[in-house]
């Protein structure tokens, strides 16, 4: 019982096959409530695929995904998001032609309840909730320091800020579990440092649990309490940063040595 409540996400025997190819096979791991877990592995290891499975973008071939004790294995992405799991994308997917503000404003929609007729007739509930949504979006932008650029069209934002915007857009959904796919990709060391502080900060402020894919080893080692290592779709190792640093198999996988037994 207590065990169940401790873990916000439990993944068991997760497998995804594309045609004959298993991109992910029999992967198990858990995310503790409030924890920051790292997911690492060489290119093509299946990290993004796991995100796609957890968020419902791909249908699971085998295995289960439980969120807060409930199965989300076969749900549609929007209902998984509605339940409190959201993510960012490796290849940033913003609403490109919309302003920074509108990106966040749109994603706040789950905090409003007014219906279509109420919107068309501009009834009081519409006005009230719309005002709250605006304030919420504004507040979120301030937290990540994007308030000065609220009117900038998203695609005109510098790369590092686009990643930041994607994170706030995810936060607008009031998630309890946030999945970040290579949030520091393409950032300089300075930006990476700021990003790390931002992640730790929002985790505390929003009482989030975080699962993060990252190639910057330095960031992962300092940020995460536990790390799951994937290689060829198989879980290679799991443990604290220190365990992982010292694991011979992990070093081997990263240095591109022959695949370990069990891989293909």
């Amino acid at each position: 019982m207590s065990q169940e409540n401790e873990n916000i996400l439990e993944v068991q025997g997760l497998t995804k096959r594309f045609g004959g190819l298993a991109a992910v096979s029999e992967v198990d791991f858990k995310v503790r409530k409030g924890g920051i877990i790292g997911l690492i592995g060489p290119n093509g290891a299946g990290k993004t695929t796991i995100f796609n499975l957890v968020t419902g973008v791909y249908k699971v071939s085998e295995g289960t995904v439980n969120f807060e004790g409930k199965s989300i294995t076969d749900l549609e992405p929007y209902s998984i998001a509605d339940m409190g799991v959201t993510r960012t994308f490796q290849n940033i997917r913003l609403f490109k032609n919309l302003s920074v503000f509108d990106n966040v404003f749109t994603a706040c929609h789950l905090s409003a309840t007014y219906s279509l007729p109420e919107a068309i007739l501009r009834l009081p509930r519409f006005r009230r909730e719309e005002k709250l949504l605006k304030e919420k979006a504004q507040g979120l932008l301030e937290i990540v320091g994007l308030q000065d650029r609220a009117d900038v069209v998203a695609s005109n934002l510098p790369y590092g800020l686009q990643r930041r915007l994607e994170i706030v857009r995810a936060l607008a959904l009031d998630p309890r579990l946030l999945l970040l796919d290579e949030p520091a990709a393409g950032m300089n060391p300075d930006e990476t440092e700021q990003l790390m502080r931002l992640i730790a900060d929002v985790r505390d402020r929003f009482k989030l649990s975080v699962l993060v894919i990252e190639h910057h080893m330095d960031l992962v080692m300092r940020l995460c309490e536990r790390i799951v290592v994937l290689n060829f779709g198989i879980k290679l190792a799991e443990g604290s940063p220190d365990d992982i640093r010292g694991d011979a198999r992990v070093v081997e996988a990263y240095l591109g040595a022959p695949a370990p037994a069990g891989g293909k």
Partner: protein, 294 residues
């Protein structure tokens, strides 16, 4: 007003009605239809049945037209909106042509020779009222969380899903609403022409509607209004070169897509707020450019 000019105005209003719906579907939701003339046909024939055969008032005909078109749209949406890529376009194309072929062969409604003697109920006033309601409805819709969700679907479908938007449901909403507009436009058209014929609702009609939306600019209601008025009047004024009209349309569509894909007014509105927004975005862009310079 001269009755010729009045006629063109009414036609522009009817076109605008259909274009408004398509603007929601294509401009705001990013779905492309080859079959909206089919919804117009359904609206036109349904309304004509109500007023001409059953002798019911025009308003009943209009409501029935919108309702019937909505049902068809819902069924098509259920069938195809879950599918990826082209299949929705293909389905609308098949739908539009099938409706026309069925009407062509259905002698009870006049077949391909057409159906004369539909009462002339359409007037400057009732068109104007319908268009005003149509514009208000649409602009209130797009400036709400529901409208923003539609725009999110257009911008980036996967990100919309992940943001908790039920993409299929919102696409269906856009399709059904746009079909209602087309159905109502069909009803007005039938009672303006007083004669309907399947040929009036061909693929070319569907594409013309889409062209107007593109000219006006994807994601702009004022653009659609402008587009519908200009592109109804221009060909009337330029009767002499009428046969080159569609040639020019075709070339212009390609040109717009490769150079200014969002059309004349893409994403912008000619309203006080809309203009303010454009200015704010300009300023923000300038400020960003200055910031990035050392």
């Amino acid at each position: 007003m001269d009755s010729y000019i009045q006629g063109i105005f009414m036609l522009a209003g009817i076109n605008l009605m259909a274009v408004l719906g398509l603007s929601l579907l294509t401009g705001f939701t990013g779905l492309f239809s080859f079959g909206h003339a089919g919804f117009m046909a359904i609206g036109a024939y349904t309304a004509a049945i109500m007023t001409s055969m059953l002798k019911l008032p025009f308003i009943v005909g209009i409501v029935a037209a919108g309702f019937t078109a909505a049902i068809f749209a819902y069924l098509i949406g259920r069938m195809t909106l879950k599918l990826k890529g082209d299949y929705f376009c293909i389905a609308t194309l098949g739908f539009g042509e099938a409706i026309r072929l069925i009407l062509d062969n259905f002698q009870g409604l006049g077949g391909s020779r057409g159906w004369p003697g539909v009462p002339a109920h359409t007037s400057m006033l009732n068109i104007f009222i319908a268009v005003v309601i149509g514009v208000l409805f649409l602009s209130n819709l797009v400036r709400s969380r529901h409208g923003r969700n539609l725009i999110a679907v257009r911008e980036e479908e996967l990100a919309a899903q992940i943001a908790g938007i039920n993409v299929v449901r919102y696409k269906t909403l856009a399709l059904v609403v746009s079909a209602i507009y087309a159905g109502v436009a069909g009803a007005f058209l039938a009672h303006y022409m007083t004669f309907i014929q399947p040929k009036m609702f061909s693929l070319i009609k569907s594409t013309e509607l889409t062209i107007i939306v593109i000219f006006g600019g994807l994601g702009s209601i004022s653009g659609s209004v402008l587009g519908a008025v200009v592109l109804t009047f221009l060909p009337e004024l330029l009767r002499a070169v009428d046969k080159w009209r569609l040639v020019a349309y075709g070339a212009a569509v390609i040109l717009i897509m490769i150079s200014r894909p969002r059309g004349l007014m893409g994403g912008m509105e000619l309203t006080p707020n809309g203009i303010k927004k454009i200015i704010a975005e300009r300023k923000a862009k300038k400020a960003a450019a200055q910031r990035s310079e050392p």
